[in-house]
Amino acid sequence: MPTRTPAFFSAVLISALLISSSAFAHTDGVAQSGFWSGLSHPISGWDHVAAMVAVGLWGAFLGQPAIWLLPVVFPMVMALGSAFGVIGIPIGGIEIGIALSAVVLGTAILLQLRAPFWLAAIIVGIFAIFHGYAHGAELPEAANPLAFAVGFVVATGLLHLAGIGLGTFIRWPAGRVGVRATGGAIALIGVAYLTGAI
């Protein structure tokens, strides 16, 4: 006799209800514009991209548990910064902070700095505030809040994962050199933005 599990029962129930839902005039256009707007926000500037990839790369250098805890810390603190930006709480030196994040994290990768985990989390957390604030302050008024927030957070997370993925190359000597060179390039991008900001 086949066994019907409660999870199976629940899945069938929810599937049936989903299939039988009423026909609506779809408004996906609005949701998609919010999602794509949020998704493209973190990748709209090289300084943001460089810093977020650097978080994953540095985590890979630091090893466990930083490799996954830094990408957990960053979105949480970044969201706090976004909230400050959305509400309009004034914080000075945002552009400088963002550029500095690329310089500091890129240099840490280049020099293979092995900071204690708590210090790495604090450094990443402080920079996350600047990144989040910049995005929050530029948040479009008409964006679908949920779609925008989901796109924004997913893009940030994917950039971290890209950094972690690149960081796995450090197990090979040539890969280690390549990752350190990437760190140097990130630091240079940061210097360029820092020069512009100052």
């Binding site: 006799m1 066994t3 019907r4 599990t5 409660p6 999870a7 199976f8 029962f9 629940s10 899945a11 129930l13 929810i14 209800l17 989903l18 039988s20 839902s21 009423s22 996954w68 990408p71 957990v72 810390v73 979105p75 949480m76 970044m78 969201a79 706090l80 976004s82 909230a83 400050f84 930006g85 959305v86 509400i87 309009g88 929050g136 948040l139 809040p145 949920l146 925008f148 927030a149 989901v150 924004f152 957070v153 997913v154 940030t156 997370g157």
Partner: protein
């Protein structure tokens, strides 16, 4: 003269009623479990939940035909059909996955029902105010923070989580009218839907190693916290 009237139930109906409210856990399989057996999950479908679903279906079916804006599917799927339901549900499920004591099943379901009822009462004062979305978003943010931080979930905390989840969902429940039957339908539908969704999320099989699964859950929790915080900030901006 005192006349006592005793209703004589047919034996098979009496047996069914007594089983529906018995302590026996319906696992959905042909083998029945006792609560002291290791069920391996917090939320299990009892007969009482199935009876509640039957109530929602029957009352919906036998109501006078009207142009319903909120159908049966919407009532049951309310907790999973919008961000204000999904975020607290997802983060609560991430927390409840850490508590696998099967003896908590019934108290958790009861706490959820009580929370839903309180939330539904609060809805009267919250409707139309920015606080209405703020309640579930704040609860989702708190759950997300706890899940991302990797906090353990003791038995009492699991019950509080269920009650708060119910509160957040109840505060945003929709019902066709404010008549008792519609409110009861919405409440019962949301309760069944939430239990079903929680059951799926809590009993999802382990994918990959336990360590990587825990990492994945904490990352999802941190993302949920971030989304809830951003939405909270947007709600706050709309108040200004």
């Amino acid at each position: 003269m005192c006349v006592s009237v005793q209703v004589m139930w047919p034996p098979h109906l009496r047996a069914r009623c007594s089983r529906a409210f018995s302590e026996e856990v319906d696992t959905g399989s042909w083998q029945k479990m006792r609560p002291n057996q290791n069920a391996g999950a917090l939320i299990r479908f009892h007969r009482i939940e199935k009876l509640t679903l039957a109530f929602v279906i029957l009352t919906s079916t036998f109501q006078t035909a009207t142009a319903h804006q909120i159908g049966l599917a919407e009532q049951v799927l309310q907790p999973v059909s919008g961000a204000l339901g999904l975020l607290p549900l997802l983060t609560a499920a991430l927390l409840l996955r850490r508590q696998t004591d099967p003896s908590l099943t019934r108290p958790a379901a009861l706490a959820l029902a009580v929370g839903l009822a309180i939330g539904l009462c609060l809805r009267t004062w919250l409707t139309g105010t920015p606080l209405q979305p703020a309640v579930p978003l704040s609860i989702a943010a708190a759950f997300g923070l706890a899940a991302a931080a990797g906090l353990a979930v003791p038995s009492l905390a699991a019950l509080i989580i269920c009650a708060l989840l119910g509160l957040s969902l109840g505060a945003n429940l929709h019902s066709e009218t404010n008549e008792l039957i519609d409110l009861a339908q919405s409440l019962a539908g949301a309760w069944v839907g939430t239990l079903a969704a929680l059951q799926i999320a809590v009993t999802l099989p382990q994918a990959g190693s336990r360590q990587w699964q825990a990492i994945g859950e904490r990352i999802i929790a941190s993302w949920s916290l971030a989304i809830a915080t951003i939405m909270l900030a947007m709600t706050a901006r709309s108040m200004m």
